[in-house]
């Protein structure tokens, strides 16, 4: 590939289709560029009043008393609620598709009872005519606390004598319950081969410890909900969330009402990245609505977003890798402690599955710890757990490459996972694209472009995310003009309604514009799991494909009747039905659609699935940086993101996912962190001081889409939303090393951290 005639945003396509792989304008486009699209906070209802939530000022405290009488007496206040207004949770377990969670944890996070476990923990709520009145009324609620010492990092929370968050939480040790009350909710282990023998035969062993700070998903639209507890007992919810059914089921469980009594209408959503899956506001707004008789809208402030939603775990990770002199990795070990926040459930399990996932290593031991700390209860953030893990592994792999004198991509190729490689957590890989990814990186003009000048360096890293399947439903009907209405239940965070419509259009041989997708509410479409896990284009796509095939098959039966032939003698290709028994009948999809009413009635196709055959996705970065040796500021000169998409349905939106995930990873790497004071209060809970990348911080993010088709999807789709956030911090850490010779072991690598590393290397006293 010549550097001169180089076009950015390459798609290394392996199969061509008619609709798939093209770039139609998204179906919801006009509404989104004119301000007409309705997001959760935009909804208006007759009689709407506004809710505000009182939150704990302390990171850890017992609630001794709550006095709401003055707030209730305020003339503009219509209702006041506390956790006493929610039914007791008992021991029920709820499964949102993220794994099972005790309902009492979800309920406790919605409104605290007994203890508050983080600054920002919700305790009470008020609904009033205006938001200003509600906020004023909050000040009238009197709460007495017994302040307790907080614990704020995993290592601190794990030591004997650390303040205990939950008196009833006993460590599950290697799968078995124990009697030990501690902040370690669980310790598990993955074992493969013989680790001692592995390290014994290694020529070089490198072991390092890495620490990463808490970071937030940073979606621009705050959490919002509007709930009406109607006179007929039905609870109607309008909200921005990643899964209407998840909101419905969790809200119903917390309120102890049947799921059929709750209807959730997903509004357009302004970003989620995992953070808009949990329930925070709906049960509170529901009981406020029940008490007041009005619909209640609650919108989170930005400070509350930081302090009281679900950031991703901070972590402490030790990785040890042993290699032979020829670069073959023979042993790998990881000790990973992830902060769960106030309630157990840190994403340590996926982190442990991804830490060595890119490599074929005989001997592995991984110890994972799920640790509670006095911070907001963590939620998923785009490939949760994997970015932390890759920061550790990929930094060490870079160090190994340098010490052995092997090219960093060649070292990875020598050890790359392929079909049949067994991961430490057990399963063997089906067809995956790790090797193809590395080869694309090696052959790219960026990798071979000269990088001259002082304090400049190039770094590479790769990462993996396994992606999800989960249930989706879809129904489809044909209009007389040959267009098709498609009803699905996956909230559209990034253009998926169009990629789903494109897959249906491909089956039916019609244009993408002729399939009209709607994201429907929980009354109108079959159960559909959350928009997350990079599952929508894969799973809801398969649902649309099956519904389209159902539609096509019924139309074949119909046209067979019209032509008086057998269905088996009708063929369908590229939108045209043809008889194949010698007679020369043929009719287009559009023309057949005109005749449906007069030949038997409307045709509706449907599908409801829980698909196997999920394909994981590998991603990689090449990053060029310049480090200012006097300020520690890192400037990104050039950044290329690579990812295996299996098949890019709409390449522009796949590129968009790669660019967006890369930039979130860049922010995570260089600036973002929860800056906590010793009392456990976040000091930078605003978008000024929680520093996310702006347009001025970045160059263009070049992308290369690799396509190693996933055999589990009719068109080869692999989810792409997440794997792209995994490598950037490691790629930048490696680039910083090659620029100024310091190995970073902490995120974020902000100017202070970089300077401290430079000073330490130069022997300058701190």
């Amino acid at each position: 590939m010549s550097t001169q005639n180089y076009e950015p945003n390459m798609v290394l396509s392996t199969t061509e289709f008619d609709v798939i792989g093209t770039r139609p304008v998204r179906h919801d486009g006009a509404d989104k560029v004119t301000g007409r699209a309705l997001y959760g906070a935009d909804i208006e209802l007759a009689g709407l009043i506004h809710g505000a939530i009182l939150r704990s000022p302390h990171a850890h405290a017992r609630i001794k008393s709550i006095d709401t009488s003055k707030a209730e007496a305020h003339p503009a206040v219509k209702a006041v609620v506390t956790s006493a207004d929610l039914p007791d949770a008992g021991d029920e377990i709820i499964d949102l598709g993220e794994g099972a969670t005790p309902l009492k944890y979800l309920r406790g996070n919605v409104l605290a009872s007994g203890k508050v476990l983080y600054k920002g923990h919700a305790i009470a709520a008020v609904a009033a005519n205006s938001l200003h009145d509600a906020q004023e009324a909050l000040k009238l609620i009197k709460i007495e606390y017994e302040v307790l010492p907080p614990t704020l990092t995993a290592p601190d929370a794990m030591r004997d004598g650390a303040p205990i968050l939950h008196e009833g939480l006993k460590t599950t040790e290697l799968g078995k319950p124990t009697d030990k009350v501690s902040n370690v909710a669980s310790h598990f282990q993955h074992v493969k081969g013989d680790i001692a023998a592995g390290f014994a035969e290694a020529d070089l062993v490198i072991e390092r410890e890495f620490n990463t700070a808490t970071v937030h998903q940073g979606y621009i639209e705050p959490h919002n909900t509007t709930v009406l507890w109607n006179n007929d007992g039905r609870v109607q919810v309008w909200c921005s969330s990643q899964g209407a059914f998840a909101i419905r089921d969790t809200t119903a469980a917390i309120l102890e009402v049947p799921v059929s009594q709750v209807k959730v209408t997903p509004m357009e959503i302004g970003g989620g990245f995992g953070g808009k899956i949990p329930v925070y506001l709906e049960p509170v707004a529901a009981v406020l609505s029940k008490k007041s008789g009005h619909p209640v809208k609650i919108v989170m402030s930005r400070a509350d977003e930081f302090e009281a939603t679900g950031p991703t775990p901070g972590s402490c990770i030790r990785v040890k890798i042993g290699v032979k002199n020829d670069g073959k990795m023979v042993a790998a070990q990881a000790w990973m402690a992830y902060e769960a926040g106030a309630y157990p459930g840190a994403m340590i399990v996926p982190g442990s599955m991804c830490v060595f996932a890119a490599y074929d290593i005989e001997n592995i031991v991984i110890d994972g710890f799920d640790v509670v700390v006095n911070k907001p209860s963590t939620a998923a953030y785009r490939a949760p757990g994997a970015t932390n893990a890759a920061f550790a592994t990929e930094s060490i792999v870079d160090e190994i490459a340098e010490k052995l004198g092997i090219d960093p991509l060649d070292l990875r190729l020598r050890n790359a996972a392929t079909k049949g490689t067994r991961r430490a957590d057990g399963p063997k890989y089906p067809r995956i694209g790790c090797v193809e990814l590395l080869e694309a990186m090696k052959n790219h003009p960026h990798y071979n472009a000269p990088l001259e000048g002082p304090n400049r360096g190039r770094g590479v890293a790769i990462g993996f995310w396994f992606n999800a399947g989960l249930p989706s439903s879809c129904s489809m009907s044909v209009n007389a003009d040959g267009t098709v209405m498609l009803i699905e239940g996956s909230p559209d965070i990034g253009g998926t309604r169009t990629s789903i419509a494109m897959q249906a259009a491909e089956v039916l041989g019609i244009a993408a514009e002729d399939v009209r997708p709607t994201v429907a509410d929980t009354d109108s479409v079959g159960f559909t799991a959350v928009t997350g896990g990079s599952r929508v284009t894969f799973a809801t796509g398969i649902a649309a494909i099956k519904a389209a095939r159902d539609l096509r098959d019924q139309m074949i039966q119909r046209v067979a009747r019209i032509w008086d032939v057998k269905s088996e003698d009708v063929e369908f290709e590229k939108g045209v039905f043809m008889s194949s028994n010698g007679t020369k009948n043929s009719i287009s999809f559009k023309d057949l659609a005109k005749q449906l009413t007069s030949t038997g009635g409307p045709i509706v196709g449907r599908a409801a699935i829980n698909p196997p055959g999920v394909g994981g996705s590998f991603s990689g970065n090449i990053a060029d940086v310049e480090v200012d040796p006097e300020t520690g500021k890192v400037t990104i000169l050039r950044f290329t993101a690579f990812q295996d998409a299996g098949k890019a349905i709409h390449p522009s939106y796949v590129e968009g996912q790669m660019q967006g995930g890369s930039v979130q990873g860049i922010g995570w790497a260089l600036n973002e962190e929860y800056f906590m004071n010793p009392e456990g209060k976040m000091m930078n809970s605003s978008l000024l001081d929680y520093r996310m990348p702006t347009s001025l911080d970045l160059p263009m993010i070049d992308t290369v889409i690799i396509e190693v088709p996933n055999p589990g999807h009719p068109y080869g789709v692999r989810g792409v939303g997440e794997a792209n956030i995994v490598p950037p911090p490691a790629a930048l850490a490696n680039a910083i090393y090659h620029a100024v010779g310091v190995r970073m072991d902490r995120l974020p690598m902000n100017p202070v951290a970089v300077m401290e590393a430079i000073w330490k290397k130069e022997g300058v006293p701190a």
């Binding site: 377990i93 499964d95 598709g97 993220e98 794994g99 099972a100 290697l174 799968g175 078995k176 598990f188 282990q189 993955h190 074992v191 990643q242 989620g272 990245f273 995992g274 899956i277 994403m347 399990v349 996926p350 998923a380 953030y381 785009r382 490939a383 949760p384 757990g385 994997a386 957590d425 057990g426 399963p427 063997k428 890989y429 089906p430 995310w465 396994f466 992606n467 999800a468 399947g469 989960l470 249930p471 965070i493 990034g494 799991a529 959350v530 928009t531 997350g532 896990g533 990079s534 829980n610 698909p611 196997p612 055959g613 999920v614 996912q657 995930g661 589990g712 939303g721 997440e722």
Partner: protein, 89 residues
């Protein structure tokens, strides 16, 4: 015969064995067979006639959406894994 991979947390119940060949054409049959030779394994995995909520089963590398009902072929590999669907974008 299908092979069942015993995760570290269950090795006590399998007398330390990491891989066991077990007869069965569905996951349900395999667990029953396993329990016959290694009592206690079924209680570890199953509750109310389904896999426990925190446990999934992967057959030939693919996490099964139907748990005990999943078909298993002659040369299949069966893994019991923690039930995490993973993260979100």
């Amino acid at each position: 015969m299908p092979t069942v991979f015993i995760p570290g947390s269950m090795r006590e119940l399998s007398a330390g064995q990491a891989e066991i060949e077990v007869r069965g054409s569905t996951v349900r049959e395999i667990i029953s067979e396993l329990d016959r030779s290694h009592p206690g394994i079924k209680d570890w995995l199953v509750e109310d006639n389904r896999l426990k909520p925190n446990i999934s089963v992967a057959v030939d590398g693919v996490v099964s959406p139907v748990g005990l009902l999943q078909d298993v072929a002659e040369d299949s590999e069966v893994h019991f894994v923690a039930a995490i669907a993973g993260g979100r974008s």
